[in-house]
């Protein structure tokens, strides 16, 4: 059994990852295409990136998107972490199954339904639509993703540290901040990042819940894509892919280093004990 990877496994991995990455790689390559015809190679050029910087509407949309994503990811992380604590720690309470249902359902709920239902809520309570309504909508579905990510972190958690702190008279809030939070932090950070990129990405829910003055980047990209494939869109997409890749790789390396260090600390502590 231990004779290393078989040719079948290697082939399926190579084919699988080519399938996942080839479209993105081609998109990036063709953003540097000098020709206006996206699929005909006309030499290397960065001129489409130049035209992006002159497009004020696009920059405005990007700024709205980043602000929405930042605010909604932050609130969603707080609410999602609380929801995870409730799911893992609160034991039984009236309405628990409704609660866990409401946490898991948005993960699979079609976006058109989420978008439509939230819009109708905002209309019913007479809330002017724009930045705030998109932010609330994004917070609502992103907090469920955060809850699932943090929950899996909490599930494999050694409660004895917390119990020890409380036995020594540490108040619950302080126990949470100085013991629980540092241990679940990688999950919380990953949850924030996931919430941020989900918001950055979303077209459907934002289209339903926005008002006249708030246009997000995906909405802008979508309306241009409908008119046809252009090298400018390839350039925006390349920038977005680049930002996300750098952030994700960076955080995961950071978390991994922390984990390695923690494991070393634990081993040392055990060796001394």
């Amino acid at each position: 059994m231990r004779q290393g990877p078989s040719w079948f496994n290697v082939t399926s991995l190579v084919l699988g990852f080519s399938f996942l990455y080839l479209p993105i790689v081609l998109l990036v390559i063709y953003s540097f295409n000098d020709s206006r015809l996206v699929t005909v190679w006309g030499g290397f050029s960065t001129r489409w990136y130049g035209t992006l910087l002159g497009n004020q509407q696009l920059l405005d949309a990007a700024w709205v998107t980043v602000r929405v994503a930042f605010a909604s990811a932050t609130i969603a992380t707080v609410l999602g972490t609380l929801a995870a604590l409730v799911l893992v720690r609160s034991g039984r309470f009236a309405g628990r199954s409704l609660f866990s249902g409401m946490v898991y359902a948005p993960l699979v709920m079609p976006e058109v339904i989420l978008g439509l239902s939230l819009l109708l809520l905002f209309v019913a309570i007479d809330q002017a639509r724009g930045f705030w309504t998109i932010m609330i909508a994004h917070t609502t579905f992103a907090m469920c993703y955060v809850a699932v990510v943090v929950q899996s972190r909490l599930a494999g958690f050694d409660r004895s540290l917390e119990e020890a702190a409380q036995d020594l008279g540490c108040p619950p809030a302080r126990t949470f901040l100085s013991i629980t939070l540092p241990i679940i932090l990688p999950g919380v950070v990953a949850g924030w990042m996931l919430a941020f990129t989900l918001s950055l990405d979303d077209l459907v829910i934002a289209s339903f819940t926005t008002g006249p003055e708030a246009t997000t980047l995906p909405m802008k990209i979508y309306s241009q894509v409908r008119l046809g494939v252009t090298p400018e869109i390839n350039a925006i997409c390349t920038i977005l892919v680049g930002v996300v890749t750098v952030v994700v790789v960076f955080t995961s390396l950071l978390t991994k280093r922390r984990e390695v260090r923690r494991a070393q600390d634990m081993r040392q502590a055990e060796a001394q004990a």
Binding site: M1, P5, F8, N9, V10, L13, G16, F17, L20, P23, I24, L26, L27, V38, T39, L79, A83, V86, R89, S90, G91, R92, F93, G95, F99, G101, M102, V103, Y104, A105, V108, M109, P110, E111, V112, I113, L116, S117, L120, L121, I136, A137, T140, M143, A147, Q151, S152, A155, P172, T197, L200, D201, F208, Y222, V225, R226, V229, C237, V241, V249
Partner: protein, 308 residues
């Protein structure tokens, strides 16, 4: 917070507050809107803002409520059964989603299996490589396929260059393009839970089978596959349920003959501005998905309890 499962733990004020905050948010912004959707699906379209009748003004009190209930009608639902666009959209959405889920499983299983059997030091990197496209924009990944699948696109250029075809193939704006789009976009959702399951698989079982003379293909079908079933189920739900209501993929990659309910709902709402009918479309879609969603939730809860 003592660990008690069988009895209700005594809860401090803070403990209740911890439950109340996320609970209230989800009740108000996730559950309550569904009742509003249901109510509006029973209203009539009106040239007004908001564009439906009757509306409910809490200031009208009991009389307002009576008037509201009196004004509700099932006309929109009757309309949905009469115009065959709607039920054709539902059927075609479910069948496109089901076929795509099956293809995703066939593509995703070998990838997850290969990852789980890869040397340990590769696994984190491979996992990262599966997650990375999942973080990059859905819209961008769908858009990337337009340039590939177009008549004068990269795939046709490549096949013409190879000499495999002498006429460009029409793939974009057909259902085939929608299948490709769904499989591509949702592949990580299937690979991740499946990998988590396959990785935990105790290889000593396979070794024991091999020692007893069981050929690898047989131990694959009698040991690996049955033990991977929870991962397969979770992954398939994660692909199937959102795919039924998918809008971006059929809109950008599909053609005029591609009927999907997410697209129909979008058109009804944004082009026809018929809020009551789009609400009725959403209610029926929800009814179709309620069984798979509940099954998915139970599965997730069980997985969470097992500590997966």
């Amino acid at each position: 917070m003592p660990e008690q499962v069988s009895t209700r733990p005594r809860r401090s004020l803070g403990g209740w507050l911890l439950i109340a905050v996320p609970y209230a948010w989800l009740l108000f912004f996730f559950l309550a809107p569904f009742f509003i959707v249901f109510k509006i699906s029973l209203s009539e379209i009106a040239v007004a803002i908001p564009p439906y009748m009757p509306t409910f003004d809490p200031a009208d009190g009991w009389n307002g409520l009576v008037e509201l209930v009196g004004g509700l009608s099932f006309d929109n639902y009757v309309w949905l059964t009469q115009d065959d666009l709607y039920w054709k959209s539902y059927i075609s959405s479910v069948s496109i989603a089901a076929i795509s889920t099956l293809i995703t499983l066939l593509v995703g299983f070998p990838i997850a299996y290969g990852m789980a059997r890869a040397p340990k030091e590769w696994r984190t990197t491979l996992l990262m490589l599966v997650i990375l496209p999942f973080w990059t924009s859905f819209l961008i990944r769908v858009y990337a396929w337009i340039g590939i699948l177009k008549n004068e696109g990269l795939l046709n250029q490549f096949l013409l260059w190879l000499g495999l075809i002498d006429q460009p193939l029409t793939i974009l704006n057909t259902n085939l393009a929608v299948y490709i789009g769904i499989v591509y976009s949702y592949l990580p959702f299937l690979v991740l839970p499946l990998y988590a399951n396959l990785e935990k698989l105790d290889t000593s079982l396979l070794e024991a089978a091999a020692d007893l003379g069981c050929p690898p293909w047989r131990s694959f079908w009698t040991i690996t596959v049955p033990l991977a079933i929870p991962g397969v189920i979770a992954g398939c739900f994660l692909v199937f349920i959102p795919a039924v209501g998918e809008f971006v993929i059929p809109d950008l990659l599909g053609g005029s003959e591609t009927l999907m309910i997410g697209k129909t709902l979008w058109m009804e709402f944004f082009t026809n501005r018929d809020w009551p009918v789009s609400s009725a479309v959403a209610v029926i879609l929800l009814l179709i998905l309620v069984v798979p969603i509940v099954l998915f939730q139970n599965q997730q809860q069980k997985a969470a309890e097992r500590g997966l």
